[in-house]
């Protein structure tokens, strides 16, 4: 571009400077110089192809320049020289324009391809996100359906499920084989809902000493806590408390009542029991 501006400046300045310069040169030398300038321009990339018509006109003007130089009393030769210079620069500019057009078209094609790529990527990302969301939704629904089997009840603390003593070895805090499997849906739910905290309350019937019952209820609550922790639920989220025989829910004078009293309650703190119902 600098070359072009320089050439333009040179062409523009030629009018003022041409006469003295021309006066110093023979007609032949001057016309040869212009022929050389035209030849140089014609050899430049694209100039013959895209600016050939201007160079041809410039070549035609050489004869006229020669004629005017022969008998130039009024400075007409400088006008012809100015015209030739302008024609040469126009030829160069036309070649530059042709190349620029090609550049612009290629740049547009690249930009369009890039936009299409971005669009395709965005669509793929959106589709993946949609699929993941659908999968997460399906998983949440599946977990809720599993939780439904626990028949959660609403309590003051939250949604509570009851594990009867049948999951424990008689008189012990150890979970029976297969009992852990029963806790699996709960563990999965807690893993999928990391903000939900859990409270485990152990209870016994009224048989045996208070101290023994207190210890047994605490140990059973802790046993459930350990089982959940073993399934990947952080122990920090779980509080285990033993109540012994202090909170019966049925009559301890008969076997059926005592069985109900021997229980471990697992409460999902702050959760609504009806959110696990079939309609939700």
């Amino acid at each position: 571009m600098n070359k072009l501006i320089f050439s333009l400046a040179a062409a523009t300045a030629l009018a003022g400077a041409a006469s003295p310069v021309m006066a110093d040169k023979t007609d032949k030398l001057l016309t040869d110089e212009y022929r050389e300038k035209i030849a140089v321009a014609r050899a430049e990339p694209g100039v013959a192809e895209y600016g050939g018509v201007y160079l041809d006109r410039a070549s035609d003007r050489i004869a006229k320049l020669d004629k005017k130089l022969d008998n130039d009393k009024s400075g007409q030769a400088e006008a012809v020289a100015g015209e030739i210079n302008a024609l040469i620069e126009t030829a160069r500019t036309r070649a530059r324009i042709a190349m620029l057009k090609k550049d612009v078209e290629e740049a547009k094609a690249r930009a369009a391809a890039s936009t299409n790529d971005k669009l395709a990527n965005a669509q793929a990302t959106a589709a993946t996100a949609q699929a993941e969301a659908a999968a997460a939704q399906a998983e949440a629904a599946r977990l809720k359906a599993q939780m439904r089997d626990y028949q959660l009840k609403q309590t003051q603390l939250g949604a509570t499920l009851v594990l009867q003593d049948v999951v424990f070895e008689t008189g012990k805090a150890d979970l029976k084989p297969g009992a852990a499997q029963r806790l699996q849906p709960l563990a999965q739910y807690l893993q999928a809902n990391p903000n939900v905290k859990v409270r485990i309350d152990g209870h016994t019937d009224a048989q045996g000493s208070d101290a023994y019952n207190q210890q047994l209820s605490q140990a059973r609550a802790q046993s459930v806590r350990n089982a959940l922790a073993g399934m990947g639920v952080s122990g920090d989220r779980i509080t285990a408390v033993g109540h012994g025989e202090s909170s019966p829910i049925a009559d301890n004078r008969n076997a059926a009542g005592r069985q109900q009293n021997r229980r471990v309650e697992v409460t999902l703190v702050g959760q609504q029991a009806d959110s696990f119902a079939a309609t939700s």
Binding site: M1, L4, I5, L8, A11, T12, A15, Y54, R57, R61, K64, K68, S74, Q76, A79, V80, G82, E83, A86, L87, E89, T90, T93, R94, R96, I97, L100, K101, D103, V104, A107, K108, A111
Partner: protein, 113 residues
């Protein structure tokens, strides 16, 4: 025979007088056409809103065209013709330069985006 010689001389004289006149009339018409052609290109370039480096070339074209008109007004038709041709070529160059600038700008914008 003498009459024929006289008629011949008269015809020759008339031709000698008329020929430069005919040539001058042709120059005047050529100058008028060249000036009109250059003006048309100049007007088109101005209408297209040529600026920057192209504007400088256009100004040069305008100045040269004014000189052509001045020469034409003083019956210096041949000088007017060469000036009009120069103005014409400069108007072409201005138009091409403006077109090139536009393309360069367009290419830069695409490159940025």
């Amino acid at each position: 025979m003498r009459n024929m010689v006289l008629i011949g001389l008269a015809a020759a004289s008339l031709t000698a007088l008329a020929a430069p006149g005919a040539a001058l009339a042709g120059d005047e018409e050529d100058a008028r056409v060249a000036i009109a052609a250059a003006k048309a290109k100049l007007d088109a370039a101005e209408k297209a809103g040529v600026g920057g480096a192209a504007g400088d070339v256009l100004n040069r074209s305008r100045t040269v065209l004014e000189q052509a008109n001045a020469k034409f007004g003083h019956d210096e038709d041949r000088h007017a013709i060469v000036l009009a041709h120069e103005a014409d070529a400069l108007a072409d160059l201005a138009t091409a330069t403006a077109e090139m600038r536009t393309l360069e700008s367009e290419r830069s914008k695409i490159a940025v985006n």
